[in-house]
């Protein structure tokens, strides 16, 4: 039996409230737990603590807002990996309608790390494809932590070609630490599957909008993100290698991950400046994990606007825009 190592992460869990706090959120956590204590103490009590509560709540909100307005690239990496961050299924639930999942690559199997199906967004029919990481132990294993195998990428190719034939625009939600690094994935041609998926994106005669919603990790991400319009959530990251991986190669220690995150320019804000992405979608104060429904709705609205702008563009023009976008990178 193959043992899969869970990515090493430390979560602070604040007593009774089931919220995972990141290391840098500790001051916020402390305030929020004092508020919770006050509330509990006030239950059935006549003592007037309303003003104290209001003061603390406003202080806590300010602290959260100021913390999140100045996240470092490494902190954003942690936010992008937050276990409560909305994933594919949350976007399906809150942003899209009438989702019909489609499964299988028709060659080998069904890879649940990459999900796909037909859906509606604001009434518009489309093909929705994306990584799903899972939200608890059972689902994380089922979805292989969002790390796609060749059959997942081949399913994506199949669905893109299907969409192309029926004139359905393609929307992808990218959220993966990377394609699965495993023996059977290599054996079945992980590299070829990723290459074909990128090729399938570029070949589409229908509009394609990609959104990096969590981690955009390397080839496993770009295989679903070679679109003419690329959006990114405010605290998502997108990079050629994980900061840990980069640090362990270039600095010879994974402990330098914060430096690597800084140096690689992997935040949405940096990538917009570098013209790698086209648009940043704001997250609720304190990150998408504090309000998945609102996050999903905001993303849905942004994608809908992008699709509206692309409707009526000819297949040849769409391909040319996509090609020009990538050919222009690094030119001049």
């Amino acid at each position: 039996m193959r043992a899969i190592l869970l990515p090493e992460r430390r979560w602070e869990t604040s007593g009774s409230i089931m919220v995972s706090y990141l290391e840098f959120e500790k001051p916020v956590a402390a305030l929020e737990s004092r508020i919770a204590e006050l509330r509990a103490a006030a239950e059935g009590d006549e003592v007037d603590i309303a003003s104290e509560l209001r003061r603390l709540e406003s202080k806590s909100a300010d602290l959260l807002a100021s913390t999140y307005s100045a996240l470092t690239p490494w902190q954003k990496t942690q936010v992008s990996r937050h276990p409560a961050r909305p994933h594919f299924r949350d976007y399906v639930a809150h942003a899209f309608e009438d989702f019909i999942p489609l499964g299988g690559d028709r060659y080998f199997g069904e890879d649940e790390a990459i999900l796909g199906g037909i859906a509606r967004l604001n009434g518009r029919k489309l093909m929705l494809i994306g990584h799903e990481k899972g939200h608890d132990t059972e689902t994380r294993l089922r979805h292989n932590f969002g790390m796609g195998k060749p059959e997942g990428y081949r399913k994506a190719v199949r669905l893109m070609e299907l969409a192309d034939r029926f004139g359905l625009p393609v929307v992808t939600l990218v959220d993966t630490s990377g394609a699965f690094p495993g023996v059977e994935a290599e054996e079945r041609g992980q590299a070829e599957a990723i290459a074909r998926s990128t090729e399938a994106c570029l070949a589409l005669g229908v509009p394609m909008v990609a959104a990096i919603v969590g981690e955009g990790g390397s080839g496993g991400a770009v295989a679903l993100a070679s679109a003419e319009r690329v959006l990114m959530l405010e605290h998502a990251v997108y990079s050629v290698i994980s900061p840990e991986g980069c640090a362990s190669i270039l600095w010879r220690t994974a402990e330098k991950a914060p430096d690597a995150a800084e140096a690689m320019k992997m935040t949405a804000q940096d990538l917009l400046r570098l013209k790698i992405i086209d648009r940043i979608v704001s997250e609720p104060v304190g990150g998408a994990h504090r309000d998945p429904a609102t996050t999903a709705k905001a993303l849905g609205i942004a994608i809908d606007e992008e699709l509206a702008a692309l409707s009526g563009v000819s297949a040849a023009d769409l391909r040319r825009r996509r090609e020009d976008r990538f050919l222009a990178i690094g030119a001049g």
Binding site: R2, P181, E187, G189, A191, G219, M266, F326
Partner: protein
């Protein structure tokens, strides 16, 4: 003129082996001490164990192409766009690599012919920062593919890379779709695109243009894969199978058409180009 004298007469620089009086080389595989000139004459393949040594772009082009090929100018790209610095500045690493190489970056292409068949041949050089794919490699590959499109001839790429050039961050990742735009254009133009995977070809290079050829050839024993072996081992905590990610393993699993020894490569490529000649304009 044999290929060796052809190379010698053509090389604009003295090879390090000649200048440094280093008459003997040790086979990296079987550790046999080999007479440097014999090793070179044997195309840098160990006569004892058959190990295919890594070779640079100039040696490769000279081995594969007919006399009279012309090296294409290397397109210039924005240097060190991220002002990247780890334990060293990326700009210093680049300077160092250039001082040790006859070329500007890790991808060199030439226009010429292979036993009379016109082709553009691109060679990725592992000795230049591990052959890593950054903007310069991407731009050189795009320019070479464009030249093949302009000349309506075949495009052959010898891949060799540890992966993406991390010091260029996301810009190196973007070379994957960028290169794929060109492989698609070659396909649409009906021009043959042949990939020769050499040791080692891994990461984003494998997961883009290296796996999109009409025909995939590999040199014996070449390491070819997507994920690094250490990463895989850390993930699955299992012993890797014998010969994992080697050329023969990829052949067995259907990812390369053939494994061809270096001495037979030139002829094999010529034969393939003969079969895959683009339809002549009437």
């Amino acid at each position: 003129m044999n290929w060796l004298t052809r190379i010698r007469s053509r090389l604009p620089f003295k090879s390090k082996r000649e200048s440094s009086e280093n008459l003997w080389v040790k086979c990296p595989n079987c550790a046999e001490m080999l007479f440097a000139r014999e090793y070179e004459a044997n195309l840098f393949v160990c006569p004892r164990c058959g190990h295919h040594g890594r070779i640079g772009a100039d040696e490769r082009l000279a081995q594969i192409m007919d006399d009279g090929f012309s090296v294409l100018p290397a397109p210039r790209v924005k240097e060190d766009p991220l002002k990247f610095r780890d334990s060293k500045r990326y700009s210093d690493r680049l300077k160092q690599a250039r001082a040790a190489s006859p070329h500007h970056d890790a991808f060199t292409a030439a226009l010429g012919s292979i036993m009379g068949h016109k082709a553009v041949v691109g060679v990725q050089d592992f000795t230049f920062m591990g052959g890593s794919m950054g903007m310069a490699v991407g731009a050189a590959l795009v320019a070479a593919a464009q030249r093949a499109l302009d000349e309506k001839c075949a495009f052959i790429v010898f891949t060799a890379a540890g992966g993406a050039r991390m010091q260029e961050g996301i810009l190196s990742l973007m070379q994957m779709p960028k290169a794929t735009v060109m492989t698609r254009r070659l396909k649409e133009a009906g021009l043959p695109y042949i990939v020769v995977l050499t040791d080692p070809t891994t990461g984003g290079v494998t997961a883009s243009y290296a796996m999109l050829g009409d025909i995939h050839i590999s040199e014996p024993g070449a390491l070819i894969g997507f994920a690094g072996q250490r990463v895989i081992q850390d993930t699955i905590r299992e012993k890797l199978p014998e010969g994992f990610q080697r050329a023969e393993y990829l052949h067995k699993h259907g990812m390369v058409d053939m494994v061809v020894e270096r001495k037979d490569l030139r002829e094999r490529l010529a034969d393939l180009l003969d079969y895959l000649a683009p339809a002549q304009a009437a």
